[in-house]
Amino acid sequence: MIRGRDGGRRMEGSAGTLERWAAILGGTAVGFAGARRGSWALAALGGGLFLAGAAGVPLSSPLRQAALPALRREPTTTQANVTIAVPADKLFRHWRNVRHLAALFPHLDAVEILSDTESRWKAHGPGGVPVVWNSRLDKVRENELITWHTLEGADLPHRGTVLFRPAPGGRGTEVSLTLAYHPPGGAGGNAVSRLFGTAPEQQAREALRRLKRIMEVGELPTIDGQPSGRAERGRVTSKLREVMG
Protein backbone atom coordinates (compact mmCIF):
# COMPACT_ATOMS: atom_id res chain seq x y z
CA MET A 1 0.00 0.00 0.00
CA ILE A 2 2.70 2.38 0.99
CA ARG A 3 5.54 2.70 -1.43
CA GLY A 4 8.56 4.89 -1.27
CA ARG A 5 10.45 5.93 -4.35
CA ASP A 6 13.51 7.99 -4.98
CA GLY A 7 13.45 10.27 -7.93
CA GLY A 8 16.60 11.06 -9.80
CA ARG A 9 16.93 14.82 -9.79
CA ARG A 10 20.54 15.85 -10.13
CA MET A 11 22.13 18.14 -7.59
CA GLU A 12 25.22 19.67 -9.13
CA GLY A 13 28.17 20.33 -6.87
CA SER A 14 26.38 19.40 -3.71
CA ALA A 15 28.55 18.96 -0.69
CA GLY A 16 28.28 15.86 1.40
CA THR A 17 27.33 13.48 -1.37
CA LEU A 18 29.74 10.76 -0.40
CA GLU A 19 29.09 11.20 3.28
CA ARG A 20 25.45 10.81 2.65
CA TRP A 21 25.88 7.69 0.64
CA ALA A 22 28.18 6.28 3.28
CA ALA A 23 25.53 7.09 5.81
CA ILE A 24 22.80 5.53 3.74
CA LEU A 25 24.78 2.34 3.24
CA GLY A 26 25.92 2.28 6.86
CA GLY A 27 22.43 2.92 8.07
CA THR A 28 21.17 0.14 5.86
CA ALA A 29 23.78 -2.23 7.23
CA VAL A 30 22.91 -1.38 10.81
CA GLY A 31 19.26 -1.67 9.96
CA PHE A 32 19.75 -5.11 8.49
CA ALA A 33 21.83 -6.15 11.48
CA GLY A 34 18.99 -5.03 13.68
CA ALA A 35 16.43 -6.89 11.61
CA ARG A 36 18.55 -10.02 11.58
CA ARG A 37 18.88 -9.99 15.34
CA GLY A 38 15.21 -9.25 15.65
CA SER A 39 16.08 -5.96 17.30
CA TRP A 40 13.68 -3.42 15.91
CA ALA A 41 15.07 -0.60 17.96
CA LEU A 42 18.46 -1.26 16.45
CA ALA A 43 16.95 -1.55 13.01
CA ALA A 44 15.07 1.72 13.37
CA LEU A 45 17.62 3.76 15.26
CA GLY A 46 20.78 2.36 13.75
CA GLY A 47 20.75 4.69 10.78
CA GLY A 48 20.23 7.76 12.91
CA LEU A 49 22.97 6.84 15.37
CA PHE A 50 25.35 6.11 12.55
CA LEU A 51 24.71 9.52 11.08
CA ALA A 52 25.41 11.39 14.26
CA GLY A 53 28.84 9.80 14.19
CA ALA A 54 29.36 10.23 10.50
CA ALA A 55 28.58 13.90 10.61
CA GLY A 56 32.08 14.93 11.60
CA VAL A 57 33.92 13.03 8.92
CA PRO A 58 34.25 15.22 5.85
CA LEU A 59 35.72 13.59 2.78
CA SER A 60 37.86 15.47 0.34
CA SER A 61 36.27 16.80 -2.78
CA PRO A 62 38.88 15.33 -5.21
CA LEU A 63 38.32 11.85 -3.86
CA ARG A 64 34.63 12.27 -4.35
CA GLN A 65 35.10 13.51 -7.91
CA ALA A 66 37.55 10.79 -8.85
CA ALA A 67 36.11 7.76 -7.19
CA LEU A 68 32.41 8.20 -7.28
CA PRO A 69 31.28 10.29 -10.24
CA ALA A 70 28.10 8.25 -10.60
CA LEU A 71 27.03 8.98 -7.07
CA ARG A 72 26.73 12.66 -7.82
CA ARG A 73 23.45 11.82 -9.43
CA GLU A 74 22.07 11.35 -5.94
CA PRO A 75 18.35 11.20 -5.35
CA THR A 76 17.06 14.40 -3.87
CA THR A 77 13.39 13.81 -4.38
CA THR A 78 11.44 11.21 -2.54
CA GLN A 79 7.83 10.18 -2.80
CA ALA A 80 5.53 8.01 -0.71
CA ASN A 81 2.09 6.81 -1.75
CA VAL A 82 -0.83 5.33 0.13
CA THR A 83 -4.50 4.61 -0.48
CA ILE A 84 -6.79 5.64 2.36
CA ALA A 85 -10.42 4.50 2.56
CA VAL A 86 -11.61 8.04 3.32
CA PRO A 87 -12.88 10.76 0.94
CA ALA A 88 -10.36 13.37 -0.24
CA ASP A 89 -12.11 16.35 1.38
CA LYS A 90 -11.80 14.81 4.81
CA LEU A 91 -8.11 14.05 4.32
CA PHE A 92 -7.48 17.52 2.91
CA ARG A 93 -9.11 19.19 5.90
CA HIS A 94 -7.15 17.00 8.28
CA TRP A 95 -3.85 17.88 6.65
CA ARG A 96 -4.68 21.60 6.53
CA ASN A 97 -5.07 21.66 10.31
CA VAL A 98 -1.46 22.02 11.40
CA ARG A 99 -2.31 20.76 14.87
CA HIS A 100 -2.74 17.31 13.31
CA LEU A 101 0.68 17.21 11.71
CA ALA A 102 2.69 16.52 14.87
CA ALA A 103 0.98 13.12 15.02
CA LEU A 104 2.25 12.38 11.52
CA PHE A 105 5.78 13.71 12.00
CA PRO A 106 6.94 12.75 15.51
CA HIS A 107 10.01 15.00 15.28
CA LEU A 108 7.76 18.02 15.02
CA ASP A 109 7.38 20.03 18.24
CA ALA A 110 5.42 23.15 17.28
CA VAL A 111 3.94 24.97 14.33
CA GLU A 112 3.23 28.68 14.58
CA ILE A 113 0.96 30.30 12.00
CA LEU A 114 2.45 33.63 10.92
CA SER A 115 0.01 34.58 8.14
CA ASP A 116 -2.31 33.01 5.56
CA THR A 117 0.63 31.53 3.73
CA GLU A 118 3.56 31.53 6.15
CA SER A 119 4.27 29.41 9.19
CA ARG A 120 7.18 28.70 11.52
CA TRP A 121 8.10 25.09 12.30
CA LYS A 122 10.08 23.72 15.22
CA ALA A 123 11.34 20.16 15.33
CA HIS A 124 14.14 18.24 17.00
CA GLY A 125 16.92 16.17 15.51
CA PRO A 126 19.01 13.44 17.14
CA GLY A 127 19.92 14.25 20.74
CA GLY A 128 17.24 16.91 20.85
CA VAL A 129 19.05 19.32 18.51
CA PRO A 130 16.51 22.05 17.68
CA VAL A 131 15.61 22.34 14.01
CA VAL A 132 13.70 25.39 12.85
CA TRP A 133 12.38 26.59 9.51
CA ASN A 134 9.87 28.95 8.02
CA SER A 135 7.57 27.64 5.34
CA ARG A 136 5.43 29.31 2.72
CA LEU A 137 2.45 27.77 0.97
CA ASP A 138 2.73 27.89 -2.82
CA LYS A 139 -0.43 26.29 -4.09
CA VAL A 140 -3.51 25.15 -2.28
CA ARG A 141 -6.21 23.52 -4.40
CA GLU A 142 -9.19 22.53 -2.29
CA ASN A 143 -9.32 18.74 -1.73
CA GLU A 144 -6.57 18.16 -4.31
CA LEU A 145 -3.20 19.61 -3.61
CA ILE A 146 -0.98 21.50 -1.17
CA THR A 147 2.55 22.60 -2.04
CA TRP A 148 5.03 24.54 0.06
CA HIS A 149 8.64 25.53 0.29
CA THR A 150 10.93 26.67 3.07
CA LEU A 151 12.26 30.22 3.25
CA GLU A 152 15.83 31.51 3.44
CA GLY A 153 17.72 30.41 6.55
CA ALA A 154 15.84 27.17 7.11
CA ASP A 155 17.63 24.38 8.97
CA LEU A 156 15.81 21.92 6.73
CA PRO A 157 15.47 23.51 3.30
CA HIS A 158 12.93 21.58 1.26
CA ARG A 159 9.91 21.72 -1.01
CA GLY A 160 6.90 19.56 -0.39
CA THR A 161 3.75 18.48 -2.19
CA VAL A 162 0.85 16.47 -0.93
CA LEU A 163 -1.61 15.33 -3.53
CA PHE A 164 -5.06 13.82 -3.03
CA ARG A 165 -6.87 12.06 -5.87
CA PRO A 166 -9.82 9.66 -5.88
CA ALA A 167 -8.83 5.99 -5.99
CA PRO A 168 -10.54 3.79 -8.59
CA GLY A 169 -13.22 1.34 -7.53
CA GLY A 170 -14.46 3.39 -4.60
CA ARG A 171 -11.34 2.61 -2.60
CA GLY A 172 -11.09 6.10 -1.16
CA THR A 173 -8.23 8.46 -1.90
CA GLU A 174 -4.71 8.02 -3.22
CA VAL A 175 -2.36 10.28 -1.30
CA SER A 176 1.14 11.16 -2.53
CA LEU A 177 3.68 13.01 -0.46
CA THR A 178 6.70 14.32 -2.36
CA LEU A 179 9.68 15.96 -0.67
CA ALA A 180 12.52 17.63 -2.53
CA TYR A 181 15.31 18.59 -0.21
CA HIS A 182 18.38 20.69 -0.70
CA PRO A 183 21.73 20.05 0.87
CA PRO A 184 22.79 22.81 3.26
CA GLY A 185 24.23 25.89 1.62
CA GLY A 186 27.99 26.06 1.72
CA ALA A 187 29.59 23.81 4.30
CA GLY A 188 29.06 20.09 4.59
CA GLY A 189 29.07 20.00 8.33
CA ASN A 190 25.44 20.28 9.35
CA ALA A 191 24.45 17.08 11.12
CA VAL A 192 20.81 17.97 11.18
CA SER A 193 20.58 18.44 7.44
CA ARG A 194 22.36 15.20 6.97
CA LEU A 195 19.86 13.41 9.10
CA PHE A 196 17.10 14.86 7.01
CA GLY A 197 19.04 13.88 3.92
CA THR A 198 19.16 10.21 4.80
CA ALA A 199 15.72 9.30 5.92
CA PRO A 200 13.19 11.45 4.10
CA GLU A 201 11.83 8.47 2.22
CA GLN A 202 11.16 6.66 5.47
CA GLN A 203 9.78 9.79 7.08
CA ALA A 204 7.38 10.34 4.21
CA ARG A 205 6.26 6.72 4.22
CA GLU A 206 5.75 6.66 7.96
CA ALA A 207 3.84 9.94 7.86
CA LEU A 208 1.39 8.60 5.29
CA ARG A 209 1.01 5.35 7.21
CA ARG A 210 0.14 7.28 10.36
CA LEU A 211 -2.32 9.43 8.40
CA LYS A 212 -3.99 6.29 7.04
CA ARG A 213 -4.24 4.62 10.42
CA ILE A 214 -5.53 7.72 12.20
CA MET A 215 -8.13 8.39 9.51
CA GLU A 216 -9.24 4.78 9.00
CA VAL A 217 -9.19 3.36 12.52
CA GLY A 218 -8.74 6.36 14.79
CA GLU A 219 -5.64 5.07 16.53
CA LEU A 220 -2.08 3.98 15.87
CA PRO A 221 -1.82 0.27 16.68
CA THR A 222 1.01 -0.31 19.14
CA ILE A 223 2.71 -2.89 21.27
CA ASP A 224 4.48 -0.34 23.47
CA GLY A 225 3.65 -1.16 27.06
CA GLN A 226 2.54 -4.74 26.55
CA PRO A 227 4.02 -7.48 28.77
CA SER A 228 6.98 -9.63 27.81
CA GLY A 229 9.74 -11.56 29.52
CA ARG A 230 11.93 -8.53 28.80
CA ALA A 231 9.89 -6.11 30.87
CA GLU A 232 10.68 -8.05 34.04
CA ARG A 233 14.29 -7.00 33.73
CA GLY A 234 13.25 -3.37 33.98
CA ARG A 235 12.27 -0.93 31.28
CA VAL A 236 15.60 0.87 31.06
CA THR A 237 17.55 -2.35 30.82
CA SER A 238 15.09 -3.56 28.26
CA LYS A 239 15.61 -0.53 26.04
CA LEU A 240 19.35 -0.97 26.29
CA ARG A 241 19.04 -4.60 25.34
CA GLU A 242 17.06 -3.59 22.30
CA VAL A 243 19.71 -1.20 21.13
CA MET A 244 22.47 -3.64 21.85
CA GLY A 245 20.52 -6.39 20.10
Binding site: W40, A85, R171, V217, T222, I223, G225, Q226, P227
Partner: protein, 391 residues
Amino acid sequence: MRALCWNGVNDLRVERVPDPTILGPQDAIIKVNLSSVCGSDLHLIGGYVPTMRAGDIIGHEFLGEVVEKGPEVMRLNRGDRVITVSIIGCGKCWHCQHEEFSLCDNSNPQPAFEEMAYGHCTAGIVGYSHAFGGYAGSHAEYIRVPFADTNCFRVPEGVTDEQAVFVSDAVPTGYMAADMGNIKPGDVVAVWGCGGVGQMAMKSAFLMGAERVIGIDRFPDRLRAAQMKAGAETLDYSRVDIYDALLAMTGGRGPDVCIDAVGMEADSGASGIEDLYDRGKQALRLENDRPAVLRQMIQCCRKGGTLSIVGVYGGLIDKFPMGAAMNKALTFRMGQQHGQRYVKRLFEHIEKGDLDPAYLLTHKWALDDAPQGYRMFKEKADDCMRVVFAP
Protein backbone atom coordinates in the same frame (compact mmCIF):
# COMPACT_ATOMS: atom_id res chain seq x y z
CA MET B 1 0.97 -12.93 35.75
CA ARG B 2 2.61 -16.10 34.46
CA ALA B 3 3.32 -16.44 30.75
CA LEU B 4 5.20 -18.75 28.41
CA CYS B 5 8.15 -16.82 27.00
CA TRP B 6 10.35 -17.70 24.04
CA ASN B 7 13.96 -17.05 25.05
CA GLY B 8 15.83 -18.46 22.08
CA VAL B 9 15.72 -21.43 19.71
CA ASN B 10 13.95 -24.28 21.51
CA ASP B 11 14.18 -22.36 24.82
CA LEU B 12 10.71 -21.87 26.32
CA ARG B 13 10.16 -20.87 29.95
CA VAL B 14 7.17 -19.93 32.06
CA GLU B 15 8.01 -16.57 33.61
CA ARG B 16 6.42 -13.86 35.73
CA VAL B 17 5.62 -10.85 33.57
CA PRO B 18 3.48 -7.73 34.15
CA ASP B 19 -0.26 -7.99 33.49
CA PRO B 20 -1.38 -6.50 30.19
CA THR B 21 -3.18 -3.17 30.19
CA ILE B 22 -5.48 -1.41 27.76
CA LEU B 23 -3.22 0.42 25.29
CA GLY B 24 -5.77 1.60 22.74
CA PRO B 25 -9.44 2.60 22.99
CA GLN B 26 -10.54 -0.45 20.98
CA ASP B 27 -8.58 -2.98 23.11
CA ALA B 28 -10.00 -5.61 25.43
CA ILE B 29 -8.27 -7.66 28.11
CA ILE B 30 -9.18 -11.34 28.12
CA LYS B 31 -8.62 -13.69 31.04
CA VAL B 32 -7.37 -16.81 29.29
CA ASN B 33 -9.11 -20.08 30.17
CA LEU B 34 -7.73 -22.30 27.41
CA SER B 35 -4.81 -21.70 25.06
CA SER B 36 -3.76 -24.24 22.43
CA VAL B 37 -0.46 -25.05 20.80
CA CYS B 38 -0.40 -24.80 17.01
CA GLY B 39 1.88 -26.32 14.42
CA SER B 40 2.87 -22.87 13.23
CA ASP B 41 4.36 -22.16 16.69
CA LEU B 42 6.96 -24.82 15.94
CA HIS B 43 8.38 -22.64 13.14
CA LEU B 44 8.86 -19.82 15.66
CA ILE B 45 10.27 -22.03 18.39
CA GLY B 46 12.71 -23.66 15.99
CA GLY B 47 14.02 -20.31 14.80
CA TYR B 48 12.71 -20.49 11.23
CA VAL B 49 10.97 -17.12 11.59
CA PRO B 50 13.73 -14.54 12.03
CA THR B 51 11.99 -11.80 13.98
CA MET B 52 11.42 -13.38 17.37
CA ARG B 53 12.91 -11.57 20.36
CA ALA B 54 13.93 -13.14 23.65
CA GLY B 55 11.07 -12.64 26.10
CA ASP B 56 8.24 -12.78 23.54
CA ILE B 57 5.07 -14.46 24.81
CA ILE B 58 3.81 -17.01 22.29
CA GLY B 59 0.42 -18.69 21.71
CA HIS B 60 -2.42 -17.53 19.46
CA GLU B 61 -5.37 -19.89 19.75
CA PHE B 62 -7.36 -19.23 22.89
CA LEU B 63 -10.65 -18.87 24.70
CA GLY B 64 -11.34 -16.69 27.70
CA GLU B 65 -13.46 -14.12 29.42
CA VAL B 66 -13.57 -10.37 28.83
CA VAL B 67 -12.38 -8.66 32.02
CA GLU B 68 -11.69 -5.15 30.79
CA LYS B 69 -12.40 -3.11 27.68
CA GLY B 70 -11.44 0.20 26.14
CA PRO B 71 -14.00 3.02 25.81
CA GLU B 72 -14.65 2.35 22.11
CA VAL B 73 -15.44 -1.36 22.46
CA MET B 74 -19.18 -1.59 21.85
CA ARG B 75 -20.08 -5.19 21.11
CA LEU B 76 -18.48 -6.90 24.11
CA ASN B 77 -19.16 -6.83 27.81
CA ARG B 78 -17.25 -7.86 30.89
CA GLY B 79 -17.87 -11.53 31.59
CA ASP B 80 -18.46 -12.50 27.95
CA ARG B 81 -17.01 -15.89 27.05
CA VAL B 82 -15.13 -15.25 23.83
CA ILE B 83 -12.68 -16.62 21.34
CA THR B 84 -10.33 -14.34 19.43
CA VAL B 85 -9.37 -14.89 15.81
CA SER B 86 -5.58 -15.21 15.84
CA ILE B 87 -5.10 -12.84 12.92
CA ILE B 88 -5.97 -9.29 13.84
CA GLY B 89 -8.12 -7.11 11.59
CA CYS B 90 -8.75 -3.41 12.12
CA GLY B 91 -12.24 -3.82 10.68
CA LYS B 92 -12.05 -0.54 8.77
CA CYS B 93 -9.55 -0.80 5.92
CA TRP B 94 -10.50 -1.87 2.41
CA HIS B 95 -9.33 -5.46 2.99
CA CYS B 96 -11.27 -5.84 6.25
CA GLN B 97 -14.33 -4.32 4.59
CA HIS B 98 -13.97 -7.05 1.95
CA GLU B 99 -13.57 -9.77 4.60
CA GLU B 100 -9.89 -10.27 3.84
CA PHE B 101 -8.91 -9.77 7.44
CA SER B 102 -5.48 -11.39 7.24
CA LEU B 103 -4.54 -8.75 4.67
CA CYS B 104 -5.45 -5.88 7.02
CA ASP B 105 -3.52 -2.70 6.23
CA ASN B 106 -3.51 -1.32 9.73
CA SER B 107 -3.21 -3.99 12.42
CA ASN B 108 0.53 -4.61 12.17
CA PRO B 109 2.37 -2.11 14.40
CA GLN B 110 5.75 -3.04 12.90
CA PRO B 111 5.20 -3.13 9.13
CA ALA B 112 8.77 -2.39 8.03
CA PHE B 113 10.03 -5.97 7.98
CA GLU B 114 7.21 -7.31 5.85
CA GLU B 115 7.37 -4.33 3.52
CA MET B 116 11.04 -5.04 2.97
CA ALA B 117 10.63 -8.83 2.62
CA TYR B 118 7.21 -9.13 0.97
CA GLY B 119 6.66 -5.75 -0.68
CA HIS B 120 3.61 -5.01 1.49
CA CYS B 121 2.69 -5.55 5.10
CA THR B 122 -0.13 -7.89 6.09
CA ALA B 123 -2.14 -8.24 9.28
CA GLY B 124 -0.69 -8.44 12.76
CA ILE B 125 -0.95 -11.91 14.31
CA VAL B 126 -1.25 -12.68 18.02
CA GLY B 127 1.97 -14.11 19.48
CA TYR B 128 3.61 -14.64 16.13
CA SER B 129 6.94 -12.79 15.86
CA HIS B 130 7.71 -9.14 15.27
CA ALA B 131 7.39 -9.34 11.50
CA PHE B 132 3.71 -9.97 12.17
CA GLY B 133 3.38 -7.16 14.68
CA GLY B 134 4.97 -8.51 17.83
CA TYR B 135 1.71 -8.80 19.75
CA ALA B 136 2.10 -10.68 23.04
CA GLY B 137 0.59 -14.17 22.86
CA SER B 138 -2.02 -16.13 24.74
CA HIS B 139 -0.04 -18.68 26.74
CA ALA B 140 -0.54 -16.41 29.72
CA GLU B 141 -3.14 -15.65 32.36
CA TYR B 142 -4.30 -12.52 30.54
CA ILE B 143 -3.95 -11.11 27.03
CA ARG B 144 -4.69 -7.79 25.39
CA VAL B 145 -6.64 -7.97 22.12
CA PRO B 146 -6.58 -4.94 19.79
CA PHE B 147 -9.71 -3.98 17.81
CA ALA B 148 -11.72 -6.28 20.06
CA ASP B 149 -15.07 -5.64 18.36
CA THR B 150 -13.67 -7.04 15.12
CA ASN B 151 -11.60 -9.88 16.52
CA CYS B 152 -13.40 -11.26 19.61
CA PHE B 153 -16.51 -13.39 19.22
CA ARG B 154 -18.96 -14.44 21.94
CA VAL B 155 -19.26 -18.22 22.15
CA PRO B 156 -22.87 -19.48 21.88
CA GLU B 157 -24.33 -21.39 24.84
CA GLY B 158 -24.41 -24.68 22.95
CA VAL B 159 -20.69 -24.71 22.20
CA THR B 160 -18.23 -25.99 24.82
CA ASP B 161 -14.89 -24.37 25.69
CA GLU B 162 -13.05 -27.35 24.24
CA GLN B 163 -14.87 -26.99 20.93
CA ALA B 164 -14.71 -23.21 20.75
CA VAL B 165 -11.01 -22.73 21.46
CA PHE B 166 -10.12 -24.12 18.03
CA VAL B 167 -12.39 -21.61 16.29
CA SER B 168 -9.54 -19.14 16.93
CA ASP B 169 -7.42 -20.68 14.24
CA ALA B 170 -7.44 -24.41 13.40
CA VAL B 171 -11.12 -24.58 12.40
CA PRO B 172 -11.30 -21.43 10.25
CA THR B 173 -7.93 -22.22 8.67
CA GLY B 174 -9.09 -25.71 7.68
CA TYR B 175 -12.47 -24.39 6.60
CA MET B 176 -10.89 -21.68 4.47
CA ALA B 177 -8.57 -24.27 2.89
CA ALA B 178 -11.63 -26.19 1.74
CA ASP B 179 -13.43 -23.00 0.77
CA MET B 180 -10.51 -21.89 -1.43
CA GLY B 181 -10.64 -25.29 -3.14
CA ASN B 182 -14.00 -24.27 -4.60
CA ILE B 183 -15.18 -27.84 -4.03
CA LYS B 184 -17.99 -29.14 -6.23
CA PRO B 185 -20.19 -32.18 -5.62
CA GLY B 186 -18.31 -35.28 -6.72
CA ASP B 187 -14.87 -33.80 -6.11
CA VAL B 188 -12.03 -35.81 -4.61
CA VAL B 189 -10.02 -33.77 -2.12
CA ALA B 190 -6.57 -34.75 -0.86
CA VAL B 191 -5.24 -33.14 2.31
CA TRP B 192 -1.52 -33.21 3.12
CA GLY B 193 -1.09 -33.13 6.91
CA CYS B 194 -3.53 -34.67 9.41
CA GLY B 195 -2.86 -32.29 12.32
CA GLY B 196 -5.50 -29.96 13.68
CA VAL B 197 -5.82 -27.82 10.56
CA GLY B 198 -5.76 -30.82 8.20
CA GLN B 199 -8.46 -32.59 10.22
CA MET B 200 -10.68 -29.51 10.02
CA ALA B 201 -9.99 -29.15 6.30
CA MET B 202 -11.11 -32.75 5.71
CA LYS B 203 -14.29 -32.31 7.70
CA SER B 204 -15.00 -29.00 5.95
CA ALA B 205 -14.42 -30.54 2.53
CA PHE B 206 -17.23 -33.00 3.25
CA LEU B 207 -19.47 -30.16 4.45
CA MET B 208 -18.86 -28.45 1.12
CA GLY B 209 -19.88 -31.48 -0.91
CA ALA B 210 -16.70 -33.47 -1.51
CA GLU B 211 -17.40 -37.06 -2.53
CA ARG B 212 -14.15 -38.47 -1.16
CA VAL B 213 -11.48 -37.04 1.08
CA ILE B 214 -7.99 -38.50 1.39
CA GLY B 215 -5.75 -37.58 4.32
CA ILE B 216 -1.96 -37.97 4.05
CA ASP B 217 0.38 -38.24 7.06
CA ARG B 218 2.68 -40.78 8.67
CA PHE B 219 1.59 -40.75 12.32
CA PRO B 220 -0.80 -43.64 12.98
CA ASP B 221 -2.86 -41.78 15.58
CA ARG B 222 -3.44 -38.87 13.21
CA LEU B 223 -4.33 -41.16 10.32
CA ARG B 224 -6.72 -42.98 12.64
CA ALA B 225 -8.35 -39.70 13.68
CA ALA B 226 -8.67 -38.69 10.01
CA GLN B 227 -10.55 -41.93 9.38
CA MET B 228 -12.63 -42.12 12.54
CA LYS B 229 -13.38 -38.46 13.21
CA ALA B 230 -13.12 -36.76 9.83
CA GLY B 231 -14.38 -39.69 7.77
CA ALA B 232 -11.43 -39.62 5.38
CA GLU B 233 -9.55 -42.39 3.64
CA THR B 234 -5.88 -42.21 4.54
CA LEU B 235 -2.43 -42.70 3.05
CA ASP B 236 0.77 -43.18 5.05
CA TYR B 237 3.48 -41.50 3.00
CA SER B 238 6.19 -43.45 4.78
CA ARG B 239 4.70 -46.66 3.40
CA VAL B 240 3.29 -45.89 -0.03
CA ASP B 241 4.22 -43.76 -3.01
CA ILE B 242 1.74 -40.91 -2.78
CA TYR B 243 1.58 -40.22 -6.52
CA ASP B 244 0.93 -43.86 -7.39
CA ALA B 245 -1.61 -44.25 -4.60
CA LEU B 246 -3.57 -41.08 -5.40
CA LEU B 247 -3.73 -41.92 -9.09
CA ALA B 248 -4.83 -45.45 -8.29
CA MET B 249 -7.59 -44.09 -6.06
CA THR B 250 -8.83 -41.62 -8.69
CA GLY B 251 -8.83 -43.62 -11.90
CA GLY B 252 -5.60 -41.95 -12.98
CA ARG B 253 -7.04 -38.43 -12.80
CA GLY B 254 -5.51 -37.21 -9.54
CA PRO B 255 -7.39 -35.33 -6.83
CA ASP B 256 -9.51 -32.36 -7.95
CA VAL B 257 -8.38 -30.31 -4.97
CA CYS B 258 -5.08 -30.63 -3.10
CA ILE B 259 -4.78 -28.94 0.30
CA ASP B 260 -1.42 -28.17 1.96
CA ALA B 261 -1.89 -28.24 5.74
CA VAL B 262 1.81 -28.76 6.40
CA GLY B 263 3.86 -25.78 5.28
CA MET B 264 7.51 -24.92 5.44
CA GLU B 265 8.89 -27.80 7.49
CA ALA B 266 7.63 -30.64 5.35
CA ASP B 267 9.17 -34.10 5.25
CA SER B 268 9.53 -35.36 1.73
CA GLY B 269 8.84 -38.94 2.68
CA ALA B 270 10.19 -41.36 0.14
CA SER B 271 12.33 -38.91 -1.78
CA GLY B 272 15.53 -39.00 0.24
CA ILE B 273 17.82 -36.91 -1.93
CA GLU B 274 15.30 -34.13 -2.39
CA ASP B 275 14.74 -34.07 1.37
CA LEU B 276 18.46 -33.89 2.13
CA TYR B 277 18.83 -31.10 -0.41
CA ASP B 278 16.09 -29.00 1.18
CA ARG B 279 17.11 -29.71 4.77
CA GLY B 280 20.69 -28.81 3.97
CA LYS B 281 19.73 -25.56 2.31
CA GLN B 282 17.30 -24.71 5.10
CA ALA B 283 19.92 -25.40 7.77
CA LEU B 284 22.33 -23.09 5.96
CA ARG B 285 19.53 -20.54 5.60
CA LEU B 286 19.90 -20.69 1.80
CA GLU B 287 16.28 -21.70 1.48
CA ASN B 288 13.79 -20.76 4.19
CA ASP B 289 11.14 -23.28 3.44
CA ARG B 290 11.10 -26.95 2.49
CA PRO B 291 8.57 -27.26 -0.30
CA ALA B 292 8.23 -31.05 -0.53
CA VAL B 293 4.45 -31.01 -0.11
CA LEU B 294 4.01 -28.30 -2.74
CA ARG B 295 6.03 -30.24 -5.29
CA GLN B 296 4.10 -33.40 -4.60
CA MET B 297 0.73 -31.64 -4.84
CA ILE B 298 1.63 -30.15 -8.22
CA GLN B 299 2.64 -33.59 -9.47
CA CYS B 300 -0.48 -35.33 -8.17
CA CYS B 301 -3.22 -32.77 -8.76
CA ARG B 302 -5.54 -33.46 -11.67
CA LYS B 303 -5.15 -31.28 -14.76
CA GLY B 304 -6.98 -28.01 -14.20
CA GLY B 305 -7.33 -28.74 -10.49
CA THR B 306 -6.83 -26.45 -7.51
CA LEU B 307 -4.06 -26.23 -4.93
CA SER B 308 -5.15 -24.63 -1.68
CA ILE B 309 -2.29 -23.69 0.63
CA VAL B 310 -2.79 -22.88 4.31
CA GLY B 311 0.39 -24.49 5.64
CA VAL B 312 2.66 -21.61 6.55
CA TYR B 313 5.60 -20.47 4.42
CA GLY B 314 7.88 -17.64 5.45
CA GLY B 315 10.31 -16.95 2.66
CA LEU B 316 11.84 -18.44 -0.44
CA ILE B 317 11.71 -21.90 -1.94
CA ASP B 318 13.47 -23.33 -4.92
CA LYS B 319 13.09 -26.21 -7.36
CA PHE B 320 9.49 -25.18 -7.77
CA PRO B 321 7.97 -27.20 -10.65
CA MET B 322 6.49 -24.27 -12.48
CA GLY B 323 6.42 -26.12 -15.80
CA ALA B 324 4.08 -28.76 -14.43
CA ALA B 325 1.93 -26.16 -12.70
CA MET B 326 1.60 -24.02 -15.82
CA ASN B 327 1.06 -26.76 -18.37
CA LYS B 328 -1.45 -28.54 -16.16
CA ALA B 329 -3.32 -25.23 -15.78
CA LEU B 330 -3.48 -25.49 -12.01
CA THR B 331 -5.15 -22.87 -9.86
CA PHE B 332 -3.28 -21.78 -6.73
CA ARG B 333 -5.20 -20.32 -3.78
CA MET B 334 -3.50 -19.51 -0.51
CA GLY B 335 -3.36 -17.27 2.50
CA GLN B 336 -3.57 -16.88 6.23
CA GLN B 337 -7.10 -17.41 7.45
CA HIS B 338 -9.74 -14.70 7.28
CA GLY B 339 -11.33 -16.23 10.38
CA GLN B 340 -13.70 -13.35 11.13
CA ARG B 341 -15.48 -14.22 7.87
CA TYR B 342 -16.26 -17.75 9.06
CA VAL B 343 -16.72 -17.73 12.86
CA LYS B 344 -20.50 -17.37 12.87
CA ARG B 345 -20.94 -20.12 10.29
CA LEU B 346 -18.53 -22.39 12.17
CA PHE B 347 -20.35 -21.98 15.48
CA GLU B 348 -23.58 -22.89 13.66
CA HIS B 349 -21.98 -26.04 12.26
CA ILE B 350 -20.75 -26.96 15.73
CA GLU B 351 -24.14 -26.34 17.34
CA LYS B 352 -25.85 -28.46 14.67
CA GLY B 353 -23.33 -31.25 15.24
CA ASP B 354 -21.86 -31.09 11.72
CA LEU B 355 -18.46 -30.38 13.16
CA ASP B 356 -16.89 -31.20 16.52
CA PRO B 357 -13.35 -29.90 16.84
CA ALA B 358 -13.06 -30.94 20.49
CA TYR B 359 -11.32 -34.18 19.52
CA LEU B 360 -8.25 -32.19 18.51
CA LEU B 361 -7.67 -31.61 22.22
CA THR B 362 -5.79 -34.72 23.27
CA HIS B 363 -4.06 -33.23 26.32
CA LYS B 364 -5.11 -30.50 28.75
CA TRP B 365 -2.20 -29.34 30.88
CA ALA B 366 -1.35 -26.57 33.32
CA LEU B 367 0.42 -23.53 31.86
CA ASP B 368 3.43 -24.28 34.05
CA ASP B 369 3.97 -27.47 32.04
CA ALA B 370 3.90 -25.65 28.69
CA PRO B 371 7.58 -26.22 27.76
CA GLN B 372 7.11 -30.00 28.17
CA GLY B 373 3.81 -29.70 26.35
CA TYR B 374 5.49 -28.20 23.32
CA ARG B 375 8.15 -30.89 23.40
CA MET B 376 5.49 -33.57 23.37
CA PHE B 377 3.62 -31.78 20.57
CA LYS B 378 6.75 -31.34 18.48
CA GLU B 379 7.75 -34.97 18.85
CA LYS B 380 4.12 -35.99 18.34
CA ALA B 381 4.60 -38.23 21.38
CA ASP B 382 1.78 -39.87 23.31
CA ASP B 383 -0.54 -39.53 20.28
CA CYS B 384 -0.60 -35.77 20.88
CA MET B 385 -2.72 -33.90 18.36
CA ARG B 386 -3.04 -30.69 20.35
CA VAL B 387 -2.06 -29.89 23.92
CA VAL B 388 -4.12 -27.09 25.40
CA PHE B 389 -2.98 -25.13 28.43
CA ALA B 390 -5.32 -23.98 31.18
CA PRO B 391 -3.62 -21.05 32.94
